[in-house]
Each structure stands twice: as structure tokens, then as C-alpha cells.
């Protein structure tokens, strides 16, 4: 028994099955996490190796190169690059997408085992490090304080960090740039000399004084007493009264040679929020945990915890990545609702009956909800891609139900009972319905096979549309007949329909339209030449227009925040940087009313942790995070504001370089839009010069912004050059001298002072005024093993020199990149202009310059899409050829495809959007939708001819009769996409190009399909060709 007759005969079972689907779907919706994009595992592994004391060049030669050579043959490796800095080598291995990273890590470990022998002994073992999106902070808070600033570290630890860490799914909570308490013992070297003391001796004395020690047990009478010496400092005041020496019978106290300060550590980083002193707190999630969910819990907990804060401590949100996700998803959900509403109105408009509309529209929620079950089963999330996929599918899922329902109504009108009509009418059309669905699947299913970065987005889209459309077909041949048999009635013909009834308002209008179209069609069939020439003209026009369309990878999004990085002259002190930072702060606040919060950090944090891998820091660098008002509340876009900020920064003479970039990070690096000029070549000086030269030319391109050279400026360094003979004469070696130098300048941590369970370092060093100049350094006394003292100046020279701070390599060659981002021009255009610069530049021998960066991803993405398009076309052809049992018919139908692309190009040009991957995806999807319309028409023409109508009549008749179904399909899809195309607000930049391209393509192709396809059909076929009787007669002439 067929599916539809079973469904009609067992209505309760059918209903229960679909209710079960809905219940499972609703359950899944509640359980599904919400995210911005499908989860992306960035396929790269980093190997860190530290080699203390080595310069960037040494690191490159001794660490980075051997590791690169050793790991070059690891399986699935796409590209190997490295950065060599002072003391540190970072080798980055980028793998093909979908590589099993844990296996890759094992391979790397094996590879490193071979290399390890070649590495210098002093180098530490290489560390393997897998990048994970969970390392990026999902929330960042600014915490400002006045009186309590100095105690902020402990306060935050107790009030926020510990309670927040208990939330499930939290990876870590870290606080940046907190003032750390430290007991600083600062010496006057002259006094030390006078008493013949050294910092090391005093350190030992302090450590010996500050101790608690168990010293055994004493048995007294019946009791056993443990014996202890309690010598730890009870308060930091005790420290200065420690006796450190005896001279001529008099005790020398620590306070005689040094000052003891119990305060906060000398800061090399200045952190301000809205111009006030403060710190930043970052929340990181565990990998796989849900951003929105965790942010929600953190925010709730924070509200609760804030009550415990002293009144002067204020907490503000710098960013909350869940806001953008929630905003985007809400926005998209609203769009989806509008789309559904539009589809319902269109169906009602064309069918004119409430019950029929209800039956058809019911397939929408059922097919959409299946998506959520799929997402839940595969461990995916509700995200922009899955919701846009639903928006695309929404117009398509009603098509099958409409075809079935129309045929059932036809039977009912002919007098069948609804039950009979439901079974037999479905029997007549089910095959056609399944085949049109197959063509749609033929377009969307290949998407599930796309690889690379684009694949991650398209795979989900492909699956979702395939699944929803298949479900809708199943519903159309089971649920729709069942409901029709129960709900549809034979309408009594009103003798006199009411004045505003459907029969007197919309129906005559539609009838008139049908007649008009029939006339147009008849005219076109007799003026084939004009039509074909016009069509050719349109195609040529598109080809000419297309180059004016810019290209980009992913549309940029306005996430309400941007970063500024300002670089001053290399070597500038933090205090100086702070002065400039304050000036910029006040400009941001006074000139830009849209700015809500500015978080500034100037200088380098010695324990900046992971974030410092992404942001370069240094005493001369100021980093800003600026938060703006919500995008819906301001008129100026973030890009305009950024451009205005750039103009302001330009006038500062102190600023050497500045970069203003959007949020970033959050979208997993997908939203990048930089174009790199990659300069390969060995000679450091020449390549730096070439990079400068190229950067200058790029600066002259009007739309190029944020020009960056990846090789940092050489920075001045002081180097102590020791004379080994003099060292030997004094019985010293390099290690002894350098540790003496370290203890006096950086400081010797002698012991820990304990207070309320917390430990604070007691650090001994020279007073600041005694370590401020080269002569101060030369004056440092070093004690020889004989107990005598030598000045450092006697042991060697102190030289100032410049060193490159980092050397980068890619594909095992040295590389410098000059990168730029486009402003008000498309990425493709900027890339071609930069390509021109390469051609016009005289590249020295031994050097090679290439265009790369996000532009490379874009090219790869478009290649993937082009391949996808070809695959879809082939599959669609296969499906159609087997449906029509003809090799020619699919060609006639495919004539409508180029016109869809015409529509895409024109729509994007009108909207002023570049062709991004997303817009191109819209164009690929069109293939399925457009072809579907043409199939409906051609199939019907064939039918009419088979039934004996002459060619031209058959075409006009079919056109007239199929106009409404085709219009209905097109209009439901167009209106379904309209909210997507027009939506503004959070995240809309990502999906609106897709809406625009689908709408443009569909309008153009529908109009053209209805004229060109019939004309082409007429050209390709001969009258009487399908007259099987005539053919047969030839075989059976003997009967005559």
C-alpha cells in the first residue's frame, strides 16, 4: 500500500507521527545551544621553544629552522611558518581542514623527537600547543577603583574570580594588569659598599630570618610537646629592623642601607578605563561550552557579587560576545517569522481558501522543526548559518504541498469525495513532486561535500535545506492528503459572490493576468529572433557589468567595538606613552559622542599571558578597546567612526604607526579582510627596505587602510660586552656577572612575606636613581670569589645597538608581510591594485613577492564555490535528463540559469554590495530554485503535446496554466528572503547579501523563464515530433 493511501486511511497514526516529530523538535530547540557560527576547529598547532638569552637571529638558525625541517613532512600539513623572537621560537603548523589534530600532535611529537638532538642544550624542550577558540575571552569587564586600587588584586580574587570559576563551563577567569603587592627593599649602593655588603648576602640573611621551623618534641611529665621556632615576619615593618651586619660592635640594620616599601610592584603597563585607573577581567570558556549560556550565568552571578564590592569599585562591560550572538539570532528569528507570515499571505492570495491555506502552511513548521532534531543529533548549534538555511527553505517547503493540494481540490471539484480525491489525486502527482524535490536536493546536497573554511558554513546549509525539503515532500504526500480528506469540502458555488469576496476581487485580477501573459507568450513565439537577440544582449550586458562588482570574503560586521593600536618611537618609556594615551583618550571622548567606553593599556605586561600572543605589546605601544553604542542607536557606521579616528591620530607627531581594526577574534578569524603582500627573501636589511618601499606605495592607494609591516621596528638595546681575560683575572665568569646584574637591576626575590594566607615577594634591588643610566650600570660592584669588589665598567663595555625583534618564516623561507585592509573599496579591487604595485616595483634578485592573507582565503573560497556550481549543474542535469528521458530537455531548462546570475549581478550593484562568499552562495542556490520553475513549465508543455495539442498551442496553453504555480513558488521564495535582505541591525551584514542575490536572481529569472524558455523550447523542437502515432505508423506500414 502506498504511503499516501495509508496516510489517508489511518489519519490518527499519521497525525501521531507528525505530532511526535513536532514534540521531538520542540524538545531539541530548548536543548540546542546558541552560537554565532557552526563550531570551527582551527586546524593549526604551534610549537613553542624557549632558548633563554638567544637573539632573534640565533633562535631562527638554531631552533626554528631545525624544527621546520623536522616537521615539514608531517601528514596533512598545509603550510609551516615561524616567528623567531628574542628567547622564543614559535613554529606554526597549519593543517588541512578536518585533519585529526590529536593524531597530528602525535606526529609532531614524533618529528620533534628526531630534531631534539640538534637543538642547543640550553634550549628548553619544545612545547606543543593546540589553538582553541576557548582561549579567546568571551567577556571582558573593566573594573575601576579609587581608594581600593592598591588592594584590587586580592579583592577581585575573593569577590569575583573564585565564585565565577565555579560556574560550569568556565575555562578560566583572569585579571589583567592588577596591581600586585610587593615588599620592595631598595638599596643605596654607596652605603652597601661602605659596609662591604652585597645584595646576595642580605638576601640570605632575610631568608634566614623569615622562617618558621619545627625543632623536635619535648616530653614533660605525662605530656608530649612539639617545639617550634616562629621567626616569620609578623608585619612588614619588622623587615627594616633586621640586623644585617656588625661593624665595630655596632649592629647595622637593614634600614641603614635601604628603604623598605610595602606597596605595589613597579608597573610596566598602564591600564585605564574611561581615563580612570583600573584593571580588566577576562572570562574564558571551556572548549565546547556554550558562549551565550555561560555569559548569561556570569552576568547573573556578577550582579549578585557586585553587592559585596566597596562603593568606589565600579564594574563595566567592555565587551560581551554573547550580546552580538543573541542580537543576531533574535534578529534572524524575527526575520524568519516575517518570512513565514509573507509566505502564508502569498499562499492565501493564490489559493483564496482558508482551509487549503492552513493545510499547506502546516508543512512549514513541520519541515523546519525537523532541522532542530538534526542539529541536536549531530551536536550542532542554532547559529546564523542554520537559521539562514531555514529562511531559504521556508519558501520552498510549501511548493510540494501546494501541487498536491491543487490536484486534490481539482478532484473534489469534479465531484469526488475528499477521501477518494486525496488518495487518487496524490497518486497522480507524487512522482512529479518527488522529482522536483530531487532537483533541489541535487543543488544543495553537493554543498555538504565542500571542503575548507567555506565548507564549514555550507555543509550545514546543504544538510538543512536537503533535510527540510525532503521532509516537506514526505509531508506533502502523507499529511497533506490526510488533512485534505478531513478538512476540504466541495465549495457550493455562490450564485452571487459578495462584493469583496475572493471570487470578485483577486480571482478576476489573476485571470486577467493569465490572459495578458498568454498574449505576451504568443507574440514572443512569433518573434523568436527579437527575443533571442534580447536575451543575448542581457547575457552580454551581465558579462560586461560583472567586473564592476567588487569581491570580498566574508561581509564585515559591526560589532559595536573596535581596537586601536598606537605605536610610538621604539624605546619610549611607559610614562611618555601614558601621556599620549591620555591625550587620545580625551579626543575619543570629546569628539565622538558614540563612544561609550574606552579601555586603554599602555606598555607591556610581563605576564600578559595568552593575549599578548595576539597583541604586540611594548613600552611604546598603546592598545585601546573602544565600545560604541548599539549599532541601531547610531547613524554613523563603525567604519566611518574608525576612519574619523584615523584622521585624528594622523596629526600626532609622536605617533609612528597606528592601526584601527574591528572587534575580531570572536568570529574565529573568519571576518578578517586583510590583504597581505608576502615578501620572501633571506637578506633582512634588503627585505625590510623592500617592505618599507611597498608599504609606501600601498599607502598611496586611496582605499587602503591600516597598512602594517609584520617585521617590527628594530629597537635599541644595551648590551654588556664582557672581556673574558678581565673576568678570568678576577676569578669571575659570565653567569656570576649576569646574575649580579640581574639582582641589582631587576631584583632578587629573597623570601616571601606571609599575611592572612597570602604570600608576597620580598624583592631586593637598587634604588631607581642608581640604575638609570649607563654610568650607573658601569658603577655596579661585583664581588669576586676572593671577596674583593670590581666595578662592572672594569670588566667590559656597555654598547647600544639595534636588533630586529622578530624574524618570520613561511614555507621555510624568511618572509615579511605588508598588509592592508580595504575601506570603501572591495577587497578584490584592493588586491588587484596591490598586485599592480608588485609588478611596478623592482624586486631585487633573490626576493619574491606574492599576494596573500584573507584574499587567499577568498580565492580559495570562490574556487570551492565554482566547483560546487559545476557539480550542482551536472547533478541537476542528470536528474532532469532521467526525468524527461531526454538529453535535450535539460538544456532548454538550463537556459534560465544565466539569467538568474544576471539578476544577482544587477541586484548587488543596485544595493552597492560586493560579491562575498555569502552572496555567491545565494547565486549557487538559485540554480535549484530557478530550474524547478522551468521544469514545471517544460513538463507541462510536453504533457500538452503528448495529449495531442499542436506545438505553439501546447506552449501557450501550458504557459497560461503554469503561470500561477510558477509565480507562487517564486513569490513565496522572494518574499521569504525579503526580510533577510532588508534586515538591519546586529549581524545583518552577514546574511543580507544572500537575500539580495537570491531575490535579484529569482525576479530576473522568473520573468525571463516565462518568456525565453518557451521560445527556446520552440526553437529546439519540431512540430509533430512528439506525435507518437505518426512514428508508429512507419513501423506498421504493412497494416495499411
Amino acid at each position: 500500500m502506498s504511503i499516501y493511501s495509508s496516510a489517508v486511511k489511518k489519519p490518527v497514526t499519521t497525525l501521531m507521527i507528525f505530532i511526535a516529530i513536532i514534540v521531538l523538535g520542540i524538545y531539541s530547540v530548548y536543548k540546542l545551544p546558541v552560537d554565532l557560527y557552526p563550531e570551527i576547529e582551527i586546524p593549526s598547532i604551534t610549537v613553542f621553544t624557549t632558548y633563554p638569552g638567544a637573539s632573534a637571529k640565533d633562535i631562527e638558525a638554531n631552533i626554528s629552522e631545525p624544527i621546520e625541517d623536522g616537521l615539514n613532512t608531517v601528514d596533512d600539513l598545509k603550510e609551516i611558518s615561524s616567528v623567531s623572537r628574542d628567547n622564543l621560537s614559535i613554529v606554526i603548523l597549519e593543517f588541512e581542514f578536518e585533519t585529526d589534530l590529536s593524531e597530528a600532535a602525535n606526529n609532531i611529537r614524533d618529528g620533534l623527537a628526531f630534531v631534539e638532538d640538534e637543538l642547543p642544550d640550553a634550549a628548553e624542550d619544545p612545547q606543543i600547543f593546540k589553538f582553541n577558540s576557548s582561549m579567546m575571552p568571551i567577556q571582558m569587564f573593566a573594573i575601576t577603583a579609587d581608594e581600593n586600587y592598591e588592594g584590587l588584586e586580592k579583592l577581585l580574587e575573593e569577590i569575583f574570580v573564585n565564585p565565577l570559576n565555579r560556574i560550569e563551563g568556565i575555562g578560566s577567569v583572569s585579571v589583567v594588569a592588577t596591581p600586585t603587592r610587593e615588599i620592595a627593599v631598595e638599596f643605596n649602593p654607596r652605603r652597601l659598599e661602605a659596609y662591604n655588603l652585597t645584595i646576595e648576602q642580605i638576601g640570605q640573611i632575610l631568608a634566614a630570618e623569615n622562617m618558621n621551623m619545627p625543632t623536635g618534641n619535648i616530653e614533660m611529665g605525662k605530656m608530649d610537646y612539639p617545639l617550634r621556632v616562629e621567626g616569620e615576619f609578623k608585619s612588614s615593618d619588622y623587615i627594616e629592623n633586621v640586623v644585617i651586619s656588625n661593624v665595630q660592635g655596632k649592629a647595622i640594620y637593614l634600614k641603614d642601607v635601604a628603604t623598605v616599601r610595602d606597596s605595589i610592584r613597579e608597573m610596566t603597563m598602564d591600564e585605564k578605563i574611561n581615563g580612570k585607573k583600573g584593571v580588566r577581567m577576562m572570562v574564558m570558556k571551556q572548549s565546547g561550552a556554550n558562549t551565550v549560556n555561560i555569559a548569561k550565568q556570569v552576568n547573573a552571578k556578577m550582579e549578585e557579587l557586585k553587592a559585596n564590592l566597596p562603593p568606589d569599585v565600579k564594574v563595566q562591560t567592555i565587551f560581551d560576545s554573547s550580546d552580538f550572538i543573541k542580537g543576531s539570532i533574535n534578529n534572524l528569528t524575527k526575520t524568519l517569522m516575517f518570512a513565514m507570515l509573507f509566505v502564508i499571505v502569498v499562499v492565501l492570495f493564490f489559493l483564496g481558501r482558508w482551509r487549503a491555506t492552513f493545510i499547506v502552511v502546516l508543512t512549514i513548521p513541520i519541515s523546519l522543526i525537523v532541522t532542530f532534531i538534526y542539529l541536536r543529533l549531530t551536536g550542532n548549534s542554532i547559529n546564523i548559518i542554520s537559521l539562514s538555511a531555514l529562511a531559504i527553505a521556508i519558501g520552498m517547503v510549501v511548493d510540494d504541498a501546494i501541487v498536491v493540494l491543487e490536484n486534490i481540490s481539482k478532484h473534489i471539484e469534479r465531484g469526488s469525495s475528499p477521501r477518494e480525491a486525496a488518495i487518487y489525486a496524490t497518486n497522480e502527482v507524487w512522482l512529479a513532486v518527488v522529482i522536483t524535490t530531487l532537483t533541489v536536493v541535487a543543488v544543495f546536497f553537493p554543498m555538504t561535500m565542500v571542503g575548507g573554511m567555506t565548507g564549514i558554513m555550507f555543509r550545514q546549509l546543504g544538510w538543512i535545506v536537503t533535510i527540510t525539503v525532503t521532509t516537506s515532500t514526505l509531508a506533502a504526500i502523507s499529511l497533506t492528503p490526510m488533512l485534505s480528506s478531513k478538512l476540504l469540502r466541495l465549495k457550493k458555488k455562490h450564485k452571487k459572490p459578495g462584493k469583496f469576496s475572493y471570487d470578485r476581487t483577486i480571482r478576476p485580477m489573476l485571470d486577467k493576468f493569465d490572459n495578458w501573459y498568454a498574449r505576451v507568450l504568443r507574440w514572443s513565439l512569433s518573434h523568436k529572433r527579437i527575443i533571442i537577440l534580447a536575451a543575448l544582449g542581457i547575457v552580454i550586458g551581465t558579462v560586461l557589468l560583472a567586473p564592476r562588482l567588487g569581491t570580498e570574503f566574508m561581509p564585515q560586521t559591526d560589532e559595536d567595538r573596535f581596537n586601536i593600536s598606537v605605536e610610538l618611537q621604539a624605546g619610549v618609556r611607559v610614562d611618555e606613552s601614558v601621556k599620549i594615551a591620555n591625550k587620545i583618550d580625551s579626543i575619543l571622548f570629546n569628539k565622538f559622542p558614540q563612544v561609550e567606553l574606552v579601555s586603554t593599556s599602555a606598555g607591556a605586561d610581563d605576564e600578559g599571558g595568552f593575549l599578548s600572543m595576539f597583541r604586540s605589546t611594548g613600552s611604546n605601544i598603546i592598545n585601546y578597546t573602544v565600545r560604541l553604542e548599539n549599532s541601531s542607536e547610531r547613524d554613523t557606521s563603525i567604519w566611518e567612526i574608525m576612519e574619523a579616528v584615523r584622521k585624528e591620530l594622523k596629526v600626532f607627531p609622536e605617533i609612528v604607526k597606528y592601526n584601527v581594526t574591528t572587534g575580531g577574534g570572536m568570529s574565529g578569524g573568519m571576518a578578517q579582510n586583510n590583504i597581505d603582500l608576502e615578501i620572501y627573501g633571506y637578506d633582512l636589511e634588503k627585505s625590510t627596505r623592500l617592505a618599507d618601499q611597498l608599504a609606501d606605495s600601498v599607502r598611496n592607494i586611496p582605499g587602503a587602510r591600516d597598512i602594517k609591516i609584520s617585521r617590527e621596528d628594530e629597537k635599541p638595546e644595551l648590551q654588556v660586552d664582557l672581556d673574558r681575560r678581565k673576568l678570568a683575572a678576577n676569578g669571575l665568569n659570565t653567569a656570576m656577572v649576569s646574575s649580579a646584574l640581574y639582582n641589582r637591576v631587576e631584583g632578587l626575590t629573597a623570601t616571601q612575606y606571609r599575611e592572612q594566607g597570602e604570600e608576597y615577594d620580598v624583592v631586593l634591588r637598587f634604588k631607581k636613581e642608581y640604575r638609570n643610566s649607563i654610568s650607573d650600570i658601569k658603577n655596579i660592584d661585583v664581588q669576586t670569589p676572593m671577596g674583593t669588589f670590581v666595578r662592572l665598567g672594569e670588566l667590559g663595555e656597555i654598547k647600544e645597538y639595534y636588533a630586529p625583534p622578530n624574524i618570520e618564516r613561511k614555507r621555510r623561507e624568511r618572509i615579511v608581510t605588508v598588509s592592508a585592509t580595504p575601506y570603501k573599496i572591495s577587497m578584490g579591487e584592493l588586491a588587484s591594485q596591490m598586485q599592480e604595485i608588485i609588478e611596478n616595483t623592482d624586486v631585487p634578485t633573490g626576493f619574491m613577492v606574492e599576494v596573500g592573507g584573507a584574499y587567499e582565503d577568498q580565492q580559495e573560497g570562490f574556487q570551492d564555490l565554482a566547483l560546487l556550481l559545476v557539480l550542482s549543474l551536472v547533478l541537476v542535469y542528470l536528474v532532469m535528463a532521467s526525468q524527461f528521458e531526454s538529453l535535450k530537455m535539460p538544456f532548454i531548462i538550463m537556459f534560465s540559469i544565466p539569467f538568474a546570475f544576471t539578476g544577482v549581478v544587477i541586484a548587488l550593484l543596485i544595493a552597492g554590495k560586493p560579491l562575498s562568499i555569502i552572496a555567491a552562495l545565494g547565486a549557487v542556490m538559485l540554480v535549484g530554485i530557478v530550474v524547478k520553475n522551468a521544469i514545471v513549465l517544460v513538463d507541462y508543455i510536453n504533457l500538452m503535446r503528448d495529449r495531442g495539442h499542436p506545438l505553439a498551442d501546447a506552449i501557450v496553453l501550458s504557459g497560461r496554466s503554469r503561470l500561477r504555480p510558477v509565480l507562487m513558488t517564486a513569490v513565496t521564495t522572494i518574499l521569504g528572503m525579503l526580510p533577510l535582505a532588508l534586515s538591519t541591525g546586529e549581524g545583518s551584514e552577514i546574511w543580507s547579501p544572500m537575500g539580495i542575490s537570491v531575490i535579484g536572481g529569482l525576479i530576473a529569472s522568473t520573468i525571463i523563464t516565462m518568456v525565453i524558455v518557451p521560445v527556446v523550447y520552440m526553437l529546439f523542437t519540431r512540430s509533430g515530433e512528439r506525435n507518437k502515432k505518426a512514428k508508429l505508423r512507419k513501423n506498421y506500414e504493412f497494416l495499411d
Binding site: G415, S416, R419, A421, Y424, D946, R947
Partner: protein, 97 residues
């Protein structure tokens, strides 16, 4: 006894079942899904893509006096909508076991 052979569009199936009960005719034989076309007009019922409609056929043996009522009923069903299609043919029955 007469034999009545009725060919009808599948869309009439339920009406036929009801008709036999209504006329109190118990015995009949039905062939489902049979194809054919009318002598004068109407669409062929071939179960193909071109002519998707299909027929069922019923052979029933009835008392002579019931034949007219049966033909009358068939005529009424046909009158609902002639496009759907139903025809009945009557033969004499010579012998039966």
C-alpha cells in the same frame, strides 16, 4: 440472471462500494488498476505521465429486476461529473454453478 460489467475512474471507488450496499447487491468481483479509453470522448485513463488517471473494473451478477436500478445508479454517479468517467455493460448469463 444478468452480468453487469462496470468500468469506472478510481475516483468513484467509494461511491461504488456504497452503491452496492445501497442496492443490496452482495456479490461482485473487482479488478483494480485497469486501463482504457472511451469510444467517443473523454480523456484516456492510462496511468501514464500523460494520462495519469486509472480505472477499476467490477463484474457483478444480479437478478434481472435489479439491472435497471443498477444502471440508474450508475447513470446518477456519472451525472455528478461526466469528466470522471463510468460505464456499465450488461450480458446474459447462460449457466452458473
Amino acid at each position: 440472471m444478468k452480468s453487469v460489467f462496470i468500468i469506472f475512474n478510481q475516483a468513484h471507488s467509494e461511491k461504488m462500494e456504497y452503491m452496492f450496499d445501497y442496492l443490496d447487491i452482495r456479490g461482485y468481483t473487482q479488478w483494480t488498476t485497469v486501463y482504457g479509453r472511451g469510444s467517443n470522448d473523454g480523456d484516456p485513463h492510462m496511468g501514464t505521465h500523460t494520462w495519469p488517471e486509472q480505472n477499476n473494473a467490477i463484474l457483478t451478477l444480479v437478478e434481472d429486476e435489479k439491472v435497471d436500478a443498477l444502471l440508474e445508479a450508475v447513470k446518477k454517479i456519472d451525472a455528478v461529473n461526466e469528466e470522471v468517467g463510468i460505464r456499465a455493460f450488461v450480458w446474459n448469463v447462460e449457466k452458473m454453478v
